[in-house]
Symmetry: C2
Subunit: 371 residues, 2 copies
C-alpha cells in the first residue's frame, strides 16, 4: 500500500483514492477513527503535508469528519456517500438551444441525457452537468480540473474536451467516453455496433428484394461517413444490388437546405427511380418525404426509404420510417454502468461496450415487405 | 445580524447563510481570517457548537479552509464558488425511458432539461440531476434533505415532491418551481401564459374565418383541461364560431389507441366535417393525421388542424402543424435565472415568470390563411 511516485497522479489524490477504496470495501466502517496524519504519512510513504491534503479531500467529499481535539473519523454518511456516487458530465457547447444545435445532435443529446438519468437511477448516482471550455491551454484546463476532484467519475462525449480528458487521465479520475466515434486507447468506450448496423441495413435491402438503391449522403465527407457508405455499398454490390449513380446526392444536414437541393437537382421522377433510398443524415428523410409528397410520389409504394438515427429524431414522420435505431438512450445507461464498475474497481471494469443497433420497421419500406 | 430562533430553519444553516451572504457581498474576501468560533457564536447569538456546525457546512462547500493552528480562512476559490452556483433538479420518476414515459412528458422534459443546461451556461451554474423518492414519510424525506444542504438552490417541477418542497422551504433553501400547473404561494413559479395562449388559439381560429370546430379532447378530464377547453369554446362561441358536437372525441394520450378510437367512432367524413380540429393532447394530431390520410382527406385543404405543445413533439409531422408553442426550453432558462436571483438576493427575487406562448404557423391551416 504505497504510492507510485512516478505516476502523474498527484500523491495526495493517490492516498485519497486508496482510503476511499478502504471505505468502499468496508475496511474503514463509519465511526472508525482514521490513523493520525503522521502514521498515515508513514504507512503510505508520503510527507505529512500530503497526508493532510488527502484528509482534506476526504473531508470535502463527506467521507470523514474532523472532531477537534479528538481526531478524524469515518463519517456516518460515508456508507451512503460511497453508494451515491457523484458523476460529472462536462459539456463544451456554448448553446443548448434547438435553434442553434444541429437537429440530429439535439435529438441524440437529449436521448443520451435521459439515458444517463436512467443510469443514475439504476446505479444510485447523481449526475452533474457543467459547462467546460474546450480549451487548448493547459493552465486554464488544470484550473478546471481542480474543481472536479470532488466527483467520483466523469462521462465524456467522444471528440470533445480532449485536453481535459488527458489531464483527468493523468489525475487518475475514473472516466468513460460515450459516443459514436473517436474511441481512445485506455478509456472505456460506450458506443454501438456501427459497422455491423450498416451491414444489417444493407442486408435488409438485399433480403427484401430491392434491386437498385439511391443514396442521400451527408454533405461533409468525413472519413467515418466514407467508411460507412463504402461498407454499405460493398455489401449491396456483393448481394447483386445496383447503386444507382444518378440518384446519389450530397445534402446539407439542414432539412430546408436539403429539400431545396433535392428539388433543384433531382432528375424528374418520371424518368425512373431507384427502388429504395438510403439516407445518411437524420434530416434527409424529412427533406425527401417532403419532396416526394410534392411530386405525388407515395413513400412505401412508389419509392421506399431506409434511414438510421436515434428514435426521437423520427417520431412523427409519416408514413413511419424504417431505420437502423442508434441506441443513444441505452448508451447513456451503459456509460453510467461502466463508470460505476470503474469507480468500484470490479474485475471487468474498463471494458468497452458496443451495443447492438436494430432495424425498426416502418411503412416506408412496406412495398417490399408485403411482397 | 442575529438568528431567528422561531424560524424552522436550523440555527447552523441560518449562520451559514448569513456568512455566505457576507462572502457574496465581498465583505469577507478570499484570504480573510474568519472570527473564531467563540466570537462567531457571540456575534450571532448562538451556541459555540452551532458556530462549529456552520463553519463545517462552509468548509464542505469550499467557501472556507481550516489551516490547523492558524484558524479558518475564506478560500481562494470562494469567489469562483459564489459565482458557480450549485443547483439541484430532483426528480421522482422511477424510469426515464421513452418507452415508459408518456410521449408528451418525455418531449417536454427533454426541452426543459436542455433549457436548464442553457441556464447554467448563462448564469455560471452547475446543475445536478438526482432521483428522490416522492415520499410522504417526513423522516425519510428529512434524511434526503440533509444531503442537499450543499446545494445553493433547487428547481422543482410542479406537482412533484411536495413534502420535500415543504421541508426545503422550512430549511430556507432557495428554490423555484417550473411547470404548467399547481402554482404555490411563496414559491416563484416559472410557467407560460396558458390561458392567454388558449385565447390566442381561439382568436386565430376566428380571425382566419373558420366557422365550425371539432375537438379532439384528452381522455382524462382534469380540472385544468376542463378550464382550458371551457375558455377555448367560450371565446369561439363569442366570435360566432360553432363547436360541432358531432366531432368531439375523448381520446387517450397514446397515439395508437387514439388512432384506433378515431377509426372506430368517427362519422364518415363524407357526411361533412368541421373546418378545423383543435387537438388537446400532443398525440392527437399524429392520430388524426394518420386517420385523415387513410380516408384520403388532405390536411390543410379538406380539413385543418391546430394543436398545442412543445416543439420537439411536433418536429417531423407532415404537413407541418400549426400549434401554440409551449416554451419549455425558455422556461428551463428562466428557472435558472430566477433561482440565481433568489440565491443572490436581488430586489426583484422571487417573482413569478409567465412566458408568452406564440402560435407557430404550419401547413395544417393553409387552407384558411390562403383565403
Amino acid at each position: 500500500m504505497v504510492v507510485d511516485k512516478n505516476s502523474k497522479v498527484s500523491l495526495c489524490v493517490q492516498v485519497r483514492n486508496m482510503l476511499v477504496d478502504c471505505i468502499r470495501r468496508g475496511e474503514l466502517p463509519p465511526g472508525r477513527r482514521i490513523p493520525g496524519e503522521r502514521m498515515l504519512a508513514d504507512s503510505y510513504g508520503v510527507s505529512r503535508g500530503t497526508a493532510v491534503e488527502a484528509l482534506k479531500l476526504l473531508e470535502n467529499d463527506g467521507y470523514v469528519e474532523r472532531i477537534s481535539t479528538r481526531g478524524t473519523f469515518i463519517s456516518q454518511e460515508a456508507g451512503a456517500r460511497t453508494s451515491a456516487l457523484k458523476i460529472l458530465y462536462p459539456f463544451p457547447e456554448k448553446s443548448m438551444s434547438p435553434q442553434y444545435l444541429n437537429y440530429a445532435n439535439y435529438c441524440a443529446g437529449s436521448e443520451l441525457y435521459q439515458g444517463m438519468l436512467q443510469g443514475t437511477l439504476d446505479f444510485n448516482m447523481q449526475i452533474t452537468f457543467q459547462y467546460f471550455e474546450d480549451s487548448a491551454d493547459r493552465n486554464a484546463a488544470m484550473k478546471q480540473i481542480k474543481s472536479i476532484r470532488n466527483f467520483d467519475g466523469i462521462v465524456f462525449t467522444s471528440h470533445q474536451l480532449s485536453l481535459m480528458r488527458e489531464l483527468v487521465t493523468e489525475e487518475g479520475i475514473p472516466h468513460v467516453m460515450v459516443g459514436t466515434h473517436n474511441q481512445e486507447k485506455g478509456t472505456p468506450f460506450i458506443s454501438y455496433k456501427r459497422l455491423e448496423g450498416i451491414k444489417k441495413t444493407a442486408q435488409y435491402v438485399i433480403k427484401n428484394g430491392y434491386r437498385s438503391v439511391g443514396l442521400l449522403r451527408a454533405y461533409s465527407d468525413l472519413p467515418e461517413n466514407r467508411e460507412k457508405i463504402d461498407l454499405f455499398t460493398s455489401v449491396l454490390l456483393a448481394g447483386g444490388v445496383k447503386i444507382d449513380k444518378i440518384w446519389i446526392f450530397h445534402l446539407e444536414d439542414d432539412k430546408e437546405l436539403a429539400y431545396k437541393k433535392l428539388k433543384n437537382e433531382m432528375p424528374h421522377p418520371k424518368d425512373g427511380m431507384p427502388e429504395i433510398f438510403f439516407c445518411e443524415s437524420v434530416s434527409h428523410p424529412f427533406a425527401f418525404f417532403r419532396f416526394a409528397s410534392e411530386c405525388g410520389l407515395k413513400i412505401g409504394s412508389d419509392v421506399d426509404v431506409i434511414s438510421h438515427g436515434g428514435d426521437t429524431s423520427f417520431r412523427g414522420i409519416m408514413p413511419s420510417l424504417t431505420y437502423l435505431r442508434i441506441p443513444y438512450f441505452e448508451m447513456g445507461v451503459a456509460a453510467c454502468r461502466v463508470l460505476n464498475e470503474r469507480i468500484c474497481g470490479s474485475a471487468s471494469a474498463g471494458k468497452n461496450v458496443l451495443l447492438p443497433a436494430e432495424i425498426i420497421e416502418g411503412e416506408s419500406t412496406r412495398k417490399r415487405s408485403l411482397k
